[in-house]
Subunit: 357 residues, 3 copies
C-alpha cells in the first residue's frame, strides 16, 4: 500500500512506538481500512486491555560490522513488508458474469499467451484464460445449466477439465479419452447441468504440467441447493496456490504483491484453498485457527480445527476463520523456503487483516 | 489394448464422432468389456440423456508452423493413449495360494534379481519376490496362523517387515533389532497368528531405500473376522504407488502399461492405496468421488468423501467408489509432472472404466 | 548404549540366540531398563507364548565375493544399530523452570551460536536457545500469565513467534508486522496470558528459513484447564522433526544418537509430533498403532488410528500409543532415504522400547 492517501492517513495517526509510525504494515491496515471505507482508527495496533506490547530491553554493544550487517538485512526485510500489498498489473479470480441464453448460463473463456506481473517489475510469460491468473471465477448453483465456450488462441492444443465436477464423460475434458484436443484457433463448447456443489477448479488437461503451470486454471464454485451455516460467510475468499514457472504464488501473485484478506472483527471468513501446483503447501495462519468444513467440495463428517492446513496438488479445502482477534496476521506456507529468504519475505506470504469495528 | 480382437470389435461399432472411431481409449473400453465378456455395446461412449457432447466450433486459421507443431505434439499424446492399456511382460499382485500344513497357511517368497518391463520396451533391473512387482498378494483372515518362508537369492542380505501387522517383536523383520539379516543363499521363516485386519504391506527392511525401490514389496491383506458393509465390494483393487528406480509406477507399471480398473455401472469398487515410494502422491479420480473408509487398515471414525486423496509413503488408504457414472475416467497423480509431459501422459496415469450394463 | 554398565548387564544375560547376545539393540533394551531402574530381565526379547521366533534355514553356497560384500554391508548396518542410542554432547527439550514474579511465570531464552553434536563426532554450527536444540521446553497452563525474555546474542536480528498460540497481535513475533526486529545485543520481552491449550511451538520468525533450520525452535506445551483422559499419560514425549542444515533429525539428533522412547508394558505414551523442517515426514511406528487425538493443539472430533502419520512443516499432531506389545520397535520416517542408506540406518530413526513389567 504505497499510495499517497493511505500514507496521509498514516501520518495523522498517533502511535506510541516509532516502529509502528514508520511501518509498512501499519500503513497496510490503514490503507485497507481506507479502501473498505472504515474509519482510520479501526486499523490502529492497539494492544488488548490487560496485555502489554513487547518491550525492547537495553541494547548491548555489538561489533560494528555485525550491527551494520544486521541492519542491512533488516532493511531488506522491512522494504518488502512496507511494500505490501504492492500494486501490480492484472488481477485474477474476477467474477465472470454469464450471459443467459434460453435458461443456460453461458461463459466464454479465451486461452492465450500474455505477459503477467507476479510482483512489481517481474513480468513472466503466462498462458491465461481471459487475460487473468487465476482465470475468472465461475460461480453457479447446483442444478444450473451451464455452457462454457473455450476459444484457443494458444500455440498448442488445449482442453478444459472441470476438476471435481461429476460430469457426463463426454464433458470431462481429457483429449483422446473424452474429446479431441482443441487445436490452435479452434473453439470448443462444453455444456452440462451442474451436478454437485462445493469448491472446484477448471484447468487445462492437455500438456497440463506445462499449461497449468503457466496459468490455465481457475475456480469453479458451486453453491449448494440447500445452504448450510457456512454458505453465507461475511467474506468468501478463493485462495489458489501455485509453484510452477511463475514462482511461489497465491492467486497468481507473489509477496509483496499478494493481496491480504480483510475482515472486520467478529466476521467470518470462508477460505477456499485450491492447490494447482506441483508441491504440497502447509498453510499456516497466525493468531486464529481455521475450522475445516469441506474437502474437495464435500462437507467433512465433523468440522475440525487447525492452524496449519496441508494442501496437496489437486485438493480443495474449505475452512472458516472466526475473526475474533484484531490485527494484521501473517498467513503463509510453512515450508519456510517458500516464504522467506535472507532478503526478506517473498512468494507464499500474505496476511489476514482483522479490523476493529 | 492393441490386440486384434478388440480392434475388430472397434471397427464394427457405430460412432457418431470420428474422434471416437479412431480413438485408443474407445478401443480400451471395448477391449476391456470384451475380456469381461460384456456385450460390446456396453462400452460405447453414449452421452447421458439430456446432455450434449462437446461441440467443436469454427476453426480459425492459425499459422502453418504453429498448427503443425501442435499436430505433432497431439500425435504423441494420442499415440500414448491409443496404446493404453499396453501389454508388457510380467504382472504383479498375483494372488498367492498358500499350502496348508497342520492348519498353518504357508507362503514361500523368493527374492531375486530379475528384468522387469515397466512399459513397452523399457526393461529395468528389479529385485522381486516370486518374479513379480509388486510381489504376490497375500490374503488371509484375521486369526489365521501364517508361515512365510523367505528365500534370499539376492546378492545382498535382506529381511521382510510386515508393515502394519502388530506382530510379536521377533517377527518384525528388522535386522539387528529383531532378527539377524538373511544372507544371500539363506532362507528364513516367519510364523505368526494374524493379529489385525486391513490393508497392509510386506517389504524389505534391510537397505530398504534401495531394496524397496527396486521392487521388494507386496500387499498383505487381512479380512476381518467381522465383515463390514465394505468387505464385499464388486471389485477389490490393490493399488500400489512407487517412484524409485523404476520411475513413476502403479502396481509396477507406467502408463500406458498401467492396467485400468474395470467395473460395471452400479458396482462398488474398493481401492486399497499403498505408497511404497519416496514421495507423496495426491491421487485424483475423475467423474466420481471416493469415500474413504480406512487408514492404515483401521476404519476411520466416519467415512469422508474426496476426489483427490493424498497418499504418503508407508500409508494405506481404503476408499470406495460407487460407480454411478459411465465412461472411461482418468485416474492419476495430480502432481502433474508425475503424469504428463509435452510428449504425452506417462507414469502415474491409469483409468477407471465404468461400463454400462 | 555403549557404556560399560549396560555391557556388563548384557553379558550376564542368558539369551538363546547368539544374535541377541551380540546385538546392540539387545544392549539398548537392557541399558534403557537400567536407566529407568527396571530389573534387567524386563528387557529380554522373549517371544510371546504360542509364537515362535524366526528360523534361519539352510545356507546355500553363495559366491564368495557376493558373500563378503553382503557381510561388509551388514557389518556397517550392525555397527550403527549397536551404537544406538549413542551418546552425544548436548540434549534438547529440557524442561525450563520459570521464575515467578508477581504471579507471572518468567522464562529467559538466550539465542546464540553454538556447536552442536547431531551424532557421534558430527559437529555442526547451530543457532540455539539456551544452548540446546530443540530449545528448552516451556510448559504452562491455560490461563497462566507468562513472560518470555529473549536475549539476542546472534549476529543477526531475530524474534520469537509463538506458533499456535492465539495471542494479541503485538505478541505475534513477526518483525515489521507486529514488532521491530530484535537486533544483535538487544533483549525483547513478550508477555501474555496463555489463551489456548495444546502442543505448540516457539521459533524465530525472522530470516526463518535459515534461523529455524539452524535450531531456533522449541516446544511450547499448554495444559488445558479441564483435563481429558489423554492429559495424564505415563510418558509424555515431545517429538520434533527437522531436515535442514543439521540433516535429518528427531529432537536435534540423528540416528544412532536419537533417543528412544521407553515405556513399560501397559503404559500409555503420548507423542507430540512437531515438524520444524521443510519436508513432510510420514512417521511409521512398528508393532503398535497410534491413536491420533489432536491436530495443532485442537482435539480431533473423533480419535482415529494409524501406524503411519504424515507430519507436514508447521503441523503438530498428538497421538497416544497403548504399549501392549513388548519389544524394541523401530520408529522412523517412511521416506526411506531419510532413514537408511547402504551404509545402514541414519537420520530419522529411533525406537519405542516397551519393557515387560
Amino acid at each position: 500500500m504505497s499510495d499517497q492517501s493511505s500514507s496521509d492517513l498514516l501520518t495523522q495517526k498517533t502511535s506510541r512506538r516509532r516502529f509502528l509510525r514508520d511501518g509498512g504494515i501499519a500503513a497496510l491496515a490503514v490503507g485497507v481500512a481506507c479502501k473498505a471505507a472504515a474509519p482510520p482508527a479501526a486499523a490502529a495496533h492497539q494492544p488488548n486491555p490487560g496485555q502489554t506490547g513487547g518491550t525492547m530491553g537495553p541494547h548491548d554493544t555489538a561489533a560494528g560490522s555485525t550491527q551494520s550487517a544486521a541492519d542491512a538485512m533488516d532493511a531488506m526485510h522491512e522494504k518488502g513488508i512496507k511494500a505490501f500489498p504492492a500494486k501490480t498489473a492484472g488481477e485474477g479470480n474476477q467474477l465472470l458474469a454469464p450471459t443467459m441464453q434460453n435458461g443456460v448460463k453461458v461463459y466464454e473463456l479465451t486461452a492465450k499467451k500474455i505477459q503477467w506481473e507476479t510482483e512489481p517489475g517481474r513480468m513472466v510469460e503466462a498462458w491465461a484464460y481471459n487475460d487473468q491468473i487465476p482465470g475468472p471465477t465461475i460461480r453457479v448453483k447446483e442444478g444450473d445449466r451451464v455452457r462454457v465456450i473455450l476459444h484457443n488462441q494458444l500455440p498448442e492444443s488445449t482442453a478444459i477439465h472441470f476438476h471435481g465436477l461429476e460430469l457426463p464423460n463426454a464433458m470431462d475434458g481429457v483429449p483422446f479419452i473424452t474429446q479431441p484436443p482443441v487445436k490452435p484457433g479452434q473453439s470448443y463448447t462444453y455444456e452440462f447441468t451442474v451436478p454437485n456443489s462445493g469448491s472446484h477448479m477448471y484447468h487445462s488437461h492437455h500438456n497440463s504440467a506445462k499449461q497449468v503451470g503457466l496459468g490455465l486454471l481457475g475456480a469453479f464454485l458451486v453453491e449448494p441447493k440447500t445452504k448450510s451455516e457456512y454458505d453465507s460467510p461475511d467474506v468468501d475468499q478463493v485462495f489458489i496456490l501455485n509453484d510452477g514457472a511463475h514462482g511461489y504464488t497465491f492467486n497468481g501473485k507473489s509477496f509483496p504483491a499478494t493481496q491480504p484478506i480483510v475482515a472486520k472483527l467478529g466476521q467470518k471468513v470462508r477460505i477456499r484453498f485450491m492447490n494447482e501446483g506441483m508441491m504440497i503447501h502447509p498453510m499456516h495462519l497466525h493468531g486464529m485457527h481455521m475450522t475445516v468444513i469441506a474437502k474437495d467440495g464435500w462437507p467433512v463428517p465433523a468440522p475440525w480445527k487447525c492452524d496449519t492446513l496441508n494442501v496437496a496438488p489437486g485438493e480443495r479445502w474449505d475452512a472458516i476463520v472466526n475473526c475474533n482477534n484484531p490485527g494484521t496476521w501473517a498467513f503463509h506456507c510453512h515450508i519456510l523456503p517458500h516464504a522467506e529468504s535472507d532478503h526478506g519475505m517473498f512468494g507464499m506470504v500474505t496476511a489476514l487483516v482483522v479490523q476493529k469495528a
